[in-house]
């Protein structure tokens, strides 16, 4: 962690992450959002920032700032949960395919390649339309589409590790395969997995935002993407309601940038070969 | 006037602990048509010295005191543009590791022909093409392979391509940096013969770098041995490898490390210890702590390179004492 801070890129990433995590975790506690608290009359919809509503109101007269806080939480939650699924499945499959090789590897890789080639967003839209619009489905769908990349990367690292000497040596000592994987392969693959995971979170958050914007988000859980969806379909742009569609977008930009910077910085630190100057 | 005159050259690299002199006060002379060998273990500075001639050192390196005079011109004073005009046209290089030194996406023919038209705009494409075919023939590569790519050649053939490329502008000096290290023994012999015959045929000067003294003994007119950034011994190969023998203890140990297949079995004595860490300040003779005939003053006084006759010079207190008749 110290090294991340020392690297300029990592430092800014960590700062961005800290701020967004604070917003996501702490703020909704003190400023909760009640979706049913709609505006009293027509004049209260899409109003600009004021003393009562620091970030103005949305198309139903509700407070945008509170939505923003809650939205942070949902966006972050979905992104992380989807990443957890993706990482566990992807790394697991990658390690097993790379370690056992042979037929298992062949089959797994054909499946992985299939999903790598299929364009992500169309598939997510199709899956979302078919399986419904609740948050669990969304998490599963996003996670399902991120694991192939992780699997590939982990597999090639496992393959090269496997060729090294300590594997046949450990086997000749009588270690079981699982034991070898646990004690030899996993520790060496970990840095790669961590670096990859951080970058995957960034991708999942973007995916959630896009899915929600398309209209496939969970209507009961307002995420930043959902806010942008509603701002779009309610014509907020045409009305110049910048307080509605700018903050969520900046929020997404900020958090994705944070994860991206930290992820790249981590990669640079654990793999010195990649490091250029600066 | 000698073709190449290097005097008291100092080349340093930046280092967290300060400057680190890879070449620390070295003299070297190469005459026209002379085939000189440069020997020494890895890290002794021979590649740095050689690449400083066409100024192909990596960024960050710094040529400090000393001079390099090529054909009378002080190259250390030349601008980058001036250097570019010299490169390949006057001084070319056969790099180590031909597979990586050749561009994988261009044909070998185009790579050989490339520098020809760069250095002489009056040459037409056809002329460059013909010239390349001549060169291919000179190094023993069939002309039809002009359109082939580097990965389609064996190691020995690739090295020949590198040699043909190095000769394309008919330079005055060719620097060959460990050209045969990665090849098998039979091919090594072929390439060495090729280098020697080309050198004679086109009256070039050649600087051949190798850590393998037997290689230099076969082909070179003169040999220079470096140790830890300094010149230990120089002289005609006939003297250094012949009956007169090497005079520097380091050279002697290097020579004894090669078993002679004709003689009886003997134990190979490696030289105990390691070369000094050049980022530290050096006092006295740098070989002193590994030398088994060191004198007391070797630890404190730096030995100068002294001419001991017959074109041979040594930087060793013991050797100069013997010469002076003191021992």
């Amino acid at each position: 962690m110290g090294k991340l801070w020392a690297d300029r890129m990592g430092r800014w990433g960590l700062i961005a992450l800290a701020i967004t995590t604070f917003i996501a975790v702490i703020c909704p506690i003190f400023f909760p959002f009640d979706p049913s608290k709609v505006g009293a009359d027509a004049a209260s919809i899409l109003t600009g920032p004021s003393k009562t509503h620091l970030l103005g109101s949305d198309e139903l007269g509700r407070d945008v700032l509170r939505q923003f806080f809650t939205g942070a939480r949902i966006s972050l939650f979905v992104g992380i949960m989807a990443t957890v699924i993706s990482t566990i499945v992807g790394s697991g499959l990658g390690i097993f395919a790379g370690y056992y090789m042979g037929r298992l590897d062949g089959i797994l890789m054909r499946i992985t390649d299939f999903f790598l080639v299929v364009p992500a967003l169309p598939l997510m839209i199709a899956l979302g339309a078919i399986f419904g619009q609740n948050i669990t489905v969304i998490i599963m769908v996003i996670g399902f589409l991120s694991w192939p990349r992780t699997a590939r990367i982990v597999r090639s690292q496992t393959l090269s590790l496997r060729q090294r000497q300590f594997v046949p040596r450990a086997k000749s000592l009588g270690s079981s395969n699982l034991r070898i994987i646990r004690t030899h392969i996993v520790p060496h693959v970990m840095p790669l997995i961590v670096a990859n995971t951080i970058l995957v979170v960034a991708g999942c958050i973007l995916s959630e935002a896009t899915l929600s914007f398309i209209g496939l988000g969970d209507p009961d859980r307002i995420s930043w993407g959902t806010m942008l969806h509603f701002s779009f379909v309610s014509g907020a742009i045409g009305r110049g309601a910048w307080w509605y569609f700018l903050p969520p977008g900046f929020g997404i930009l900020f958090i994705v940038l944070g994860f991206t910077l930290v992820g790249h910085s981590f990669e640079k630190i654990t793999n010195p070969r990649l490091g250029g100057s600066e | 006037m000698s073709l190449l005159e290097i005097r008291d050259l100092h080349i340093s690299y930046p280092n967290p602990k300060g400057e680190f002199f890879a070449v620390d006060g070295v003299d070297l002379t190469i005459e026209k048509g002379e085939f000189v060998g440069l020997a020494g273990e890895s890290g002794c500075g021979k590649t740095t010295l050689a690449l400083s001639i066409p100024r192909l050192l990596p960024r960050g390196s710094h040529i400090g005191a000393g001079s390099i005079h090529f054909n009378g011109v002080d190259t250390t004073a030349l601008s980058e543009e001036g250097m570019r005009a010299l490169r390949w046209k006057e001084i070319s290089v056969v790099f180590q590791g031909a597979l990586n030194a050749l561009n994988p996406v261009h044909t070998i023919g185009s790579q050989i022909a490339e520098p020809i038209r760069i250095h002489d705009e009056s040459v037409s494409k056809k002329q460059a093409h013909d010239r390349t075919l001549e060169l291919l023939e000179a190094v023993g590569i069939p002309a039809r392979r002009f359109e082939d790519f580097p990965h389609q050649f064996s190691g020995g053939m690739r090295q020949r391509v590198m040699i043909a490329m190095a000769l394309s502008c008919m330079p005055k000096l060719v620097i060959a940096d460990e050209p045969i290290t990665a090849l098998d023994v039979m091919t090594q012999a072929q390439i060495l013969d090729l280098l020697r015959s080309l050198c004679d045929r086109y009256s070039l000067s050649m600087l051949l770098i190798s850590h393998d003294l037997s290689v230099l003994a076969q082909t070179c007119d003169r040999v220079a041995v470096m140790y830890a950034g300094k010149m230990a011994e120089q002289g005609p190969t006939s003297r250094v490898f012949g009956n007169h023998g090497a005079k520097h203890p380091y050279t002697q140990r290097l020579l004894s490390a090669y078993p002679n297949i004709k003689h009886e079995r003997k134990f190979i004595d490696g030289i105990p210890g390691y070369p000094p860490d050049l980022s530290q300040e050096q006092v006295g003779c740098r070989f002193a702590d590994r030398c088994d005939v060191a004198l007391s003053r070797c630890a404190t006084e730096v030995p100068e390179l002294i001419d001991i006759g017959g074109g041979q010079s040594v930087a060793c207190h013991l050797a100069s004492d013997i010469r002076a008749g003191v021992q």
């Binding site: 992500a120 169309p122 199709a126 742009i237 110049g240 250029g276 | 996406v105 261009h106 490339e114 790519f149």
Partner: protein, 322 residues
Amino acid sequence: MPFLLRRFFTLLSSIFAIVTFNFFLFHIIPGDPIRLIARTQRLNAEAIAKMRASFGLDGSILSQYFRYLSKLVHGDLGYSFSFKENVSGLVGRALGNTLLLLTASTLIVVILGIAIGVFAGSRQGKKSDTATVISSLILWSMPTFWVGMLLVFTFGVWVGGLPISGISTANAVYSNGFEYFMDISRHLILPTVTLAIVDIAFFIIITRTALIDVMTEDYMLTARGKGLGRRAIVWRHGFRNAMLPVLTASALYISALVGGAIQVEVVFSWPGMGLLMYNSVLARDYPVLEASFLLTTVAVLVANFAADLLYRVLDPRVAVSK
């Protein structure tokens, strides 16, 4: 050329796999579309059965599958009940519009992106390089649709000046073909720029990294040793090699390119495959959704195939034949 044939066969089998996957995906729909229609239109059992038959939704799954395949081969993609026309016509037009958008933006992205990437890579460590990398990272972190929204706001509401919706002005009458062309071009500007802004970041970073990697190769020293000038070294030797990993990475990026196009089409109401998908999701018009998903995926597969071939042509180390 046996290799070419083999690769083409792989493409065909992938397409077949996609078709099968597509079919089974859309036929485990929890909500039966026929029942939905029946409810809204109050049909009796006989009418429902007839409708089911006409949509090919009767019989076992396997028989449905084979019927689906035979229809596909004949180019019959079904009928859309929300658009009230044959899906093949819908999809055909949409595909053309999407290709127009993608071609325009890809041209900009590739040319500018590579140029900037080489520029940054050859100046590694200097201020211009760092600035380029930071801007690229920021651009990459922005959701494409949001960039679109910002541009819609700027050029549609705030500053104005450029059309922000559709492919041509509604109800316009053109005196000649050129005017039509110009109208489409004006409508093409903002969507193209939106797509380009985000995608270019990827290209810049990829090209920069590739060039930096290549600069450390030995043959770059050889090039320098030959007395080549800086430009020749970077472009004739460096770039030519750096293009190989860039091409490989681009092939993997095609999927993201398509995703971006969908978002842009939704924001700018550009009548392409993306907007079609969006509308079909809203209307729960599964035949259209199924067909557009299928076609988009097949298009990506073909593009990957083309990229693979291109790579083999450019890299002499990888043989095209045998």
